[in-house]
Symmetry: C2
Subunit: 278 residues, 2 copies
């Protein structure tokens, strides 16, 4: 670990949980994204599910506070009161993410929460788990137009030019949402023939397009094949223009992935799928 300055604008942040810590981290980083100009040093402390581990976690936080010269921020989704008490006494700003909301929910449901640890990402929901795995396998088998078989069973088929973001988006949709997302490239031959690939004609209603700014596409392709015609700005411009024209002609919904995160693209697609199902 490097020596660290005790600059007010640099802070250690602990994500503390009796489970994976994903909830604490997702929520904590979202909150912190509201503060600019502060450099954060994130640290995960998952599986803090016993008094012994709570003592270790408190020690870890205290050491960090001493090293930094300023107390760390702790985002906690702990639910066990004994464990919380121990960590809360360490040198930190302790933000108890759960406690504030359990009371109103208990009131609303007229029920007591279980205060059981390690609940949120436990594999309690086998059906959801199996659905995700099936979706991941489907998306892998139908990545980049690898297989035309079974496209009718896709929930969505992403189309777009090579390197427009189809693969990561498909995998994210499968992983996060259990959606069977295939993806199929639009290639120069399709543009010459001025029609969609044959395999897609019968599943047209499942298509969703991704486009990308030619300048960004050229950058991404240069990473893969430096100085190729494939990566040249001229070629990227032509392919993107053709692909967008085709999507417009075929009435395919599409968005530009250029300034969007995988999460944002996926959320937009899910919104469309939710809407279609309703």
């Amino acid at each position: 670990m490097n020596e660290r300055s005790n600059d007010q604008n640099e802070r250690s942040v602990f994500y503390l949980s009796d489970g994976t810590g994903i909830t604490a981290e997702t929520f904590g980083s979202a909150l912190l994204s509201q503060f600019e100009g502060i450099t954060l040093q994130p640290l995960r402390l998952p599986f803090v599910d016993s008094v012994e581990k709570a003592v270790q976690a408190a020690d870890r936080i205290n050491r960090q506070a001493e090293r930094d010269g300023i107390r760390p921020i702790v985002f906690s989704t702990l639910v066990n009161a004994d464990i919380i008490d121990i960590v809360r006494q360490s040198e930190c700003r302790f933000l108890d993410l759960f406690q504030s909301f359990l009371a109103p929910l208990e009131e609303e449901f007229e029920a007591i929460s279980s205060h059981r640890i390690g609940r949120s990402h436990a594999a309690v929901d086998n059906k959801r788990y199996d659905r995700r795995i099936a979706a991941i396998n489907f998306s892998l088998a139908h990545d980049d137009g690898q297989s035309d078989r079974d496209l009718a069973n896709a929930d969505v088929i992403l189309v777009g030019v090579s390197r427009s973001g189809k693969t990561p988006t498909s995998l994210y949709l499968a992983m996060q949402h259990g959606v069977k997302a295939a993806n199929y490239p639009l290639i120069p031959e399709d543009f010459e023939r001025r029609r969609l690939p044959q395999a897609l004609l019968k599943v047209r209603h499942k298509l969703f397009g991704l486009s990308i700014a030619p300048e960004r596409l050229a950058e991404v392709r240069h990473e893969r094949r430096p100085n190729s015609r494939y990566a040249s700005l001229e070629n990227c411009r032509a392919e993107v223009a053709e692909a967008e024209a085709m999507m417009r002609r075929e009435g395919i919904s599409w968005l530009s992935s250029t300034t969007k995160s995988i999460e944002e693209i996926a959320a937009t697609i899910m919104q469309k799928l939710d809407h279609t199902e309703t």
Copy 2:
């Protein structure tokens, strides 16, 4: 949409956000996992980033309240006060996830939060984004021992018998954490030779093992190749025993994926990687 009963134990839950809604959903479901015996009907309302969309969201919530005969729960990560005001007036239990924590953080940082919308999953951090994409591409190229090239550049290499959960875990590590996770199968030939695959000998310190209960493995394999020798319980028992013996012999850390979610397996591996780096 089906007709719904107004059973107290069935509740509509809205995840409301000016961005993707992932934070609201991750956090809300974690909280709700503390309540048992309540059937939840989750609904995402992402990208509520204008007064107009706020009015639509409030309408949507009111319609649901009427249909259900009981007010929905709303988990909100909205940050704009005008938008919040509109939605808050709809027929719901409104849980403002952000507000309670922005004040203590502002105090701690001696800074005002930006209250800017759509921050948390915006592609502001291009470096993190590129790292994730590179990791996903790496994991895809090194799935199931596809390529021995470049294994030295992996952050971690998962090993285990076929269908022990290596592929989804690798992809999750890449997608969520930007970790270059390869995976390599342990196959009967390796057990006969009683040694690790040749390609892994030089990268032994990067290996992490996944095992699985033979009964669960047989189930998963039957899905893929029904009634094959590959899927038989007898064969699964033998392969798992051999793989575990090999991992013990080679001093490879491993865990059983049987009752664990992808998130839990990944968090355990990250903990090991974090520990190694420190």
